[in-house]
């Protein structure tokens, strides 16, 4: 139990930048390039944390609170979600509500920090983020409800625990819908193609990146790390759903998790390479589609 918690913590601290590195490698492969080394995101973070900060004089404490709250909420959320079949360090009945609203809290502060700068770009990004998040939230909740129905448990650890394999055999159609829906939520929450383009330099088209334009140095590093952590946390949900293997052996379970989370990162990279970005107007349509899928999954269970 203690060992599980320690490994969990180690994954939380060390793994997130690697996922970005894997995505970068996959994209480079599709583009016929060598690409930056896998450890480049770690180096980038180290570079940012060594830098000094420039803070606009028009900002208040809200601006500084943004990155802090983002990191804090992502860390707590990471403690709630089970990695692979292993139980999460923190688990209680109804923790999935906390899980979902931790992200909402982070979003509130990111948006507030963006508005705090008074920049037209950041205001636009904030409006986009708020709109899309409002549509992603029902998709996440409906997916959770389906899993609650399938497992009979109200905690993430229970939901994604040993019973998952049985749920796949009895209600595979529902779970496929849930996986797709959660994958869409993963992409939009971590600002990946087709919703956002993390590689773009065009401030008029950005969503997440434009909100943090004014942050620099360690604050920007914190934001990048928290965003990568969010990718890990949501990726862990999807990874567990597609690889519901519980061997009971500690090293084997962790190995399965490591493999499946890397597979999720690779799939994200593939999606990013073979798809163009959606027009901003069409993003809500896809998110509504994800909500509908989750809804169908629930209906299939409830019939």
């Amino acid at each position: 139990m203690i060992l599980d918690a320690l490994i969990h913590l180690a994954f939380v601290l060390a793994l997130p930048p690697l996922l970005l590195g894997v995505i970068g490698k996959v994209k480079a492969f599709f583009a016929g390039r060598v690409g930056p080394p896998l450890v480049q995101p770690y180096r980038d973070l180290a570079r940012l944390f060594r830098k000094s900060e420039v803070v606009s004089t028009t900002t208040t404490w809200v601006f500084r609170a943004g990155p802090v709250v983002m990191l804090a909420t992502a860390l707590v959320a990471a403690m709630l979600v089970p990695f692979g079949g292993r139980p999460a360090p923190l688990s209680f009945s109804g923790d999935l509500i906390l899980f979902a609203y931790l992200f909402a809290l982070a979003r509130f502060f990111t948006v507030a920090a963006a508005m705090d700068t008074g920049s037209a770009f950041e205001g636009m990004g904030a409006a986009r983020e708020a709109t899309f998040a409002a549509l992603a939230e029902p998709a996440l909740f409906l997916a959770f409800l389906t899993l609650v129905r399938a497992s009979g448990s109200l905690s993430l650890t229970g939901m994604l625990g040993h019973g998952l394999g049985r749920a796949w055999s009895s209600a595979s159609a529902s779970l496929v819908f849930v996986v797709v829906s959660l994958f869409v939520v993963l992409l939009v929450e971590s600002s990946r193609v087709p919703f956002d383009d993390p590689a773009t330099h065009l401030e008029l088209t950005m969503i997440h990146e434009v909100m943090v334009l004014d942050h620099s140095g360690p604050m920007l590093g914190t934001i990048h790390y928290a965003a990568a952590l969010k990718l890990l946390v949501l990726g862990a949900l999807v990874a567990r759903l597609v690889a519901p293997v519980s061997t009971g052996s500690l090293p084997l379970d962790w190995l399965v998790f490591a493999g499946s989370i890397l597979a999720v990162a690779i799939v994200v990279g593939v999606v990013e390479s073979v798809m163009a970005r959606l027009r901003l107007l069409q993003i809500p349509l896809l998110l509504v589609g994800a909500c509908l899928l989750s809804g169908f999954a629930l209906v299939l269970f409830a019939r």
Binding site: M124, T205, S273, A276, R279, L281
Partner: protein, 511 residues
């Protein structure tokens, strides 16, 4: 050289034309005094009648007559006739205003603003008379009164002049309602270097180098236009081999820039593979130019009287081989893009400009051809090798980002064929035949279809044969208005995509 000044009149031509305007071919010079001087009303009628026949305004400017006032000069490109019409009007000394042409002829709007800025000449009745580059009263560039849309929910977004990417400086002011753009105003001038003023009194040893830097990515187009103007003055012509090499250089320039633009368009919609491949292949075409003249942007290649570099048979074989390889890769990378529904969904219907708007605004080049206007100076006003070899005009009519991308892709295909064919059939002979002294007191008009569109050079010599005036109209000067029109009622997030699809020059505009 024949001066077709008011010399012919056939029954199907309007009677005014033969009386009122001088006509000449691309790359010809006419005595300045032989250009018939019209009244302002006559000038307006001539322009209106030419536009109604499908012409567009290639240039509208003024040259000072010493202290005796200004002479307004319009260059009208009449594609159907293959002729450039000149219409001039003398303003009296001390005149500070004249009735604006813009209400009847929207194409003139930016030219008139330019006149207002250069000479303080006020076109009465101009709907939006702001200076083009320099704010009044010596305020810093960019600090102008922008058009504002009033209303509680309307917000302004200011972009630039410093951009997030490595691009030229320019300021864009959007009037938005949420994500929707009501109006875009573009304010340039940051790249002003005083090129046209520096050319006065020339040509000197320096002149050709200055011309090469008018717009770095259109070096060959601008230098060819300059060389044609000088050859018109001295009554000489470049040898056939030089003309072929100029055309090859021009098409290589088109290939490199179109390929780069298509790659950047793929990058702007986050479609990675095509963006990466074409980004690399642009370099291949630049390297081909470098293999001819030692410079990737074609500097040093074109000179008045011919070209400075020749290629031997072995070099031609190597060039063609590399061209084939690069051409194959470009087609493959483009096929990836066209087959990707998500990318096409971004291109189609974005940044649409109607054919009527394109004609009214006087768009040229790719932007015009993507709106269904079949204008191409290589076809309509051929000069050099294009008099003997026709390049098909690539047209598409939907007027959106897709159309502009598609027209570029078609032109890439045509240029690949053209360069390959012409390299295989290079005429023999010399490559440089220096011309004599420049004829005095003449006006030369020279048009070249650069990769963006029509490059127009107007040169006027004084009685000693030196430049008394030199005007350069880069296609960007016509087309920035097209970008502003394309953004109407669009999503502001699509601006970078629309901007790239026009692929305009800032320094070519600012001069």
């Amino acid at each position: 050289m024949t001066d077709n000044v008011a010399s012919h009149s056939s029954p199907d031509e309007t009677p005014q034309r033969s009386l009122r305007a001088a006509a000449l071919s691309n790359g010809e010079a006419v005595p300045w005094k032989d250009i018939p001087r019209l009244s302002i009303a006559g000038l307006r009628d001539t322009i209106a009648s030419a536009l109604s026949r499908g012409a567009h305004l290639s240039a509208f400017t003024a040259f000072p007559r010493g202290d005796a006032g200004l002479t307004l000069l319009a260059v009208l490109a009449c594609p159907g006739e293959g002729l450039l019409e000149l219409a001039a009007s003398d303003l009296p000394a001390g005149a500070t205003s004249y009735p604006s042409l813009t209400p009847d002829c929207p194409q003139a709007h930016l030219f008139e603003r330019d006149l207002f800025e250069r000479f303080g000449l006020r076109p009465e009745g101009h709907p939006w008379l702001e200076p083009v580059r320099f704010p009044p009263g010596g305020a810093p560039i960019g600090q102008v009164d922008f058009y504002r849309v009033e209303g509680e929910e309307v917000h302004e977004v200011a972009v630039g002049p410093v951009h997030a990417g490595v691009i030229e400086p320019g300021h864009f002011r959007f009037q938005c309602h949420g994500e929707k753009v009501f109006h875009l105003e573009i304010s340039l001038g940051y790249q002003h270097r005083g090129v046209e003023r520096a050319l006065l009194g020339g040509p000197t040893k320096r002149t050709v180098h200055q011309i090469e830097t008018v717009a770095g990515d259109s070096t060959i187009a601008h230098t060819t236009a300059y060389a044609q103007a000088l050859e018109a003055f001295s009554g000489s012509a470049a040898p056939p081999r030089a003309q072929a090499l100029r055309a090859v250089g021009l098409e290589l320039e088109r290939l490199a820039n179109h390929v780069g633009c298509l790659g950047a368009l793929a990058g702007d919609v986050a479609f990675l593979p095509t963006a990466s491949y074409l980004g690399r292949l642009r370099g291949e075409f630049l390297n081909l130019t470098a293999a001819v003249c030692g410079n990737r942007f074609g500097r040093g290649l074109v000179r008045p009287g011919g070209v400075r570099f020749d290629v031997d048979a072995a070099a031609v074989a190597a060039l063609r081989e590399k061209l084939h390889a690069a051409g194959r890769d470009v087609k493959g990378a483009l096929a990836l893009l066209w087959d990707r529904p998500t990318a096409m969904a971004r291109f189609e219907g974005t940044g649409r400009v109607s054919t009527e708007d394109a004609r009214a605004a006087g768009l040229v080049g790719v932007a015009a051809r993507a709106c269904g206007l079949a204008i191409d100076a290589r076809h309509d006003f051929p000069s050099g090798l294009f008099q003997f070899v026709q390049v098909p005009v690539s047209v598409y009519d939907s007027g959106d980002v897709f159309a502009r991308a598609h027209v570029r892709a078609l032109e890439v295909e045509q240029s690949l064929k053209f360069v390959d064919r012409e390299l295989a059939a290079l005429p023999g002979g010399s490559t440089l035949r220096p011309g004599g002294a420049l004829a005095p007191s003449r006006l030369a008009v020279s048009l070249v279809e650069g990769f963006r569109g029509e490059v127009c050079h107007l040169a006027l010599t004084d009685p000693s044969g030196a430049f008394a005036g030199y005007r350069i109209v880069d296609p960007s000067f016509h087309n920035w208005t097209g970008l502003a029109l394309a953004l109407r009622d669009q999503q502001i997030s699509d601006f970078p995509l629309c901007n790239k699809s026009f692929d305009l020059s800032y320094c070519g505009f600012d001069l």
